[in-house]
Symmetry: C3
Subunit: 307 residues, 3 copies
């Protein structure tokens, strides 16, 4: 589905059509799936779009969500919208209790926000794009499901945010793969809710230093800082992610969901309370000629590197 089509589906209101229910973190926690469901015989459902492939194993209650948007899984408006829709579908599916997020693109988990969405576009486009970034984070950070990031490649900026928003982060122990909120390197500033999410994971001091330096941490350093929870050889990544998921799903959903909400609500509420203001800030910032120039130069550099 093209971005334009999706934009129509979403409409001017900026609200996803599937969002008739409030986001998960603002709803009462779900009751556990009915024990009447025959174990072992549940069908394996899957759905897919241009950007993301999802397979749900209903017997285990675990979905596998794979980013498949080469060359670098960049977070375009289309990608973000499909991501939010996929999360919402799983959230609303009582058979799904957890999701493992990974990439099928070699060496890249996600390269972060798509810079072409921020370059030479209209105010309406910036508004729609930024709302989609917010929506994705609100759904992921506030998800009632257990969320495990299987980080099988580099993961700068928005890609790092996706990993930080999960309940657990496992990374391939390849020192060539790096992860971090490196916005400052591009002359831009991570929004306050990227920062809040980061502080909740690594604490204030590490976040302050890493954000100011726009650091991209190689996997071993990322683990040392607490940015990822553990490293495993790349070929063991999915096996480990499944094992971690099993451990987390051993807990009763209701208690786990309420506990997660208690830990994350303050930071989620902060964006909800300042959402329009945050969009305005983004537009003001991205509309500056100096920023547009920086972004254009950065894109030129990326193009040259490719060719």
């Amino acid at each position: 589905m093209a971005a334009a089509t999706l934009a129509r589906r979403i409409g001017r209101s900026g609200v996803l059509p599937l969002c008739c229910r409030p986001p998960a973190w603002d709803r009462p926690a779900r009751p556990p799936p009915s024990p009447l469901q025959p174990p072992g015989l549940a069908p394996c459902r899957s759905f897919s779009n241009n950007k993301i492939q999802v397979e749900l194993d209903e017997s285990s209650g675990v979905a596998m969500m794979k980013f498949k948007s080469p060359p670098v899984n960049s977070l375009s408006l289309e990608f973000l919208t499909e991501f939010s829709i996929s999360l919402e579908k799983l959230e609303n599916n009582r058979a799904c209790r957890g999701v493992i997020i990974t990439s099928v693109v070699p060496k890249i988990f996600s390269s972060g926000l798509d810079i072409t969405e921020m370059c030479g576009k209209s105010v309406e486009h910036y508004t729609e794009f930024w709302r989609a970034v917010q929506e994705m984070w609100l759904r992921l950070y506030g998800s009632n499901m257990v969320t495990v990031a299987a980080v099988n490649g580099s993961s700068p900026a928005g890609g790092c945010l996706i990993a930080l928003s999960c309940d657990y982060r496992i990374m391939a122990e390849n020192p060539k793969f790096s992860i971090g909120l490196n916005e400052a390197q591009l002359g831009i500033v991570a929004p306050f809710w990227f920062k809040d999410t980061f502080v909740n994971v690594v604490g204030h001091r590490i976040a302050e230093r890493s954000l100011q330096l726009g650091s991209l941490h190689p996997a071993p350093e990322a683990q040392k800082l607490g940015l990822v929870d553990e490293l495993v050889p790349e070929e063991k990544l999915m096996e480990k992610a499944a094992a971690v998921m099993t451990q987390w799903l051993a807990l009763p959903d209701h208690a786990r969901q309420l506990t997660k909400s208690m830990m994350r609500k303050a930071v989620l509420d902060r964006l909800v309370a300042h959402r329009e203001e945050d969009i305005k800030n983004f537009i003001t910032f991205v509309s500056k000629e100096s920023i547009q120039k920086s972004l254009r130069m950065y894109m030129e550099m990326l193009k040259k590197r490719k060719s």
Copy 2:
């Protein structure tokens, strides 16, 4: 003294009869004990009840408080009330500057809240019980005394909260002893002030993971996470606790107390501001048939394990 007797002493108001003074953390700090008191000749005072034994060495200003409620020092209404009364007595005794908290029950520090108090009882009972849990924490976390936990056995849930509320935690280095806020394992959710206390000790990330998994951490892991400050062989535990107490008492009381209050006030104030709401939440939660069923099943399991 039976719980019923205590309940009468406390009355419908739910206020302990000894609480005519505001709790310690809301009072001006105490002046130091008079230097006229003859050193070395001070009497060793002790008091005791069904649940807790207290010995105060007036020469050192240090009280030893021992939980003695077999089989597992569970925090019944009676236990909590005696605990609060004991803390209040020591707080009001100018000769007492610090208290070491430990257990005389082998292998158990405290098993946490007494589940029988939450099962098949009246709303009045739940209200009284929960108020007693709050009261205990407000007195302990806000104590003007130096509080050292000598954790000589396992310490799940409410037992962990007691340790977390002290100024310093020493644990016997026995990997069979574990500690943690494992409420989620029982399908229940730790209240926000348990969480706040935990976050203040181990930080947001470790708390988020540990609370969602309802983890019970073996002593060595607990130390690694910062949940306890140090491990010593069990036979050296009391000696070490006394040495730590001496180190903390070397500081002028007044400055230490004001500093402690500065660090803990925000979290204490939060419960005080939401105390009635917190009681209502507990009652709503515990009155649910699904929760009652979980708790009954858990008690059955405990009974079977014993026999």
Copy 3:
């Protein structure tokens, strides 16, 4: 310049004459220096006063600020005022992007607040002094420049605050040098904004314990706690500080400054909102006969130690 002269320059308003502009952290971030400036040919400007020597290398944009107030670089009213003026001069100089702070006094970075300013003086004097302490911290913690502390000696109390307020702390790896907020040892209490700064660096638990014990941490322990970022042999300290500065200056100023402000604004705003109340608290506290007695005894002890 004597403290009396400075006091006249500052006047009853307590506002530094150079402060016509709002402090850096409340201003829009500065644009980068013009690229037309000829590199390598920029003059090296320096200025100096009784207390502090400053050399700015305009080619690199880095200033070296050296405390030179023997015997112990204590933070008198005069020192604090000169410190704030020096920071303001650099902040307003477009050629300056970063400052390295160190000491020329052997074995001492700074011994903290000058106790003679708190002993037997008038309420007017206490007001002026405390406002100067606040002003120094607001300028340093909120500076738009990259600030690196090259801690080449012991650094108790207010000296530690200066280091904590920088972006990065390097300490000489001499275990005889110690650092910490040891106010409680003197029977006084660190103000809430000292505490907030400390918590932002080492987290809540380490701050709670260290502040209550008034700990002075030897350099190796300080690094382990995260109080300083790294240790190097004393003879390599300046070389390392310059290398760290180069690393931080590689980032675009604008993005780095906005990120720094995002991380520190809440804590800076808190003092700004409670500044007068904080001054009143200080005056009430320091005016107590018991505190005056403690401070006099401490000064007597220091005098005896010298002779």
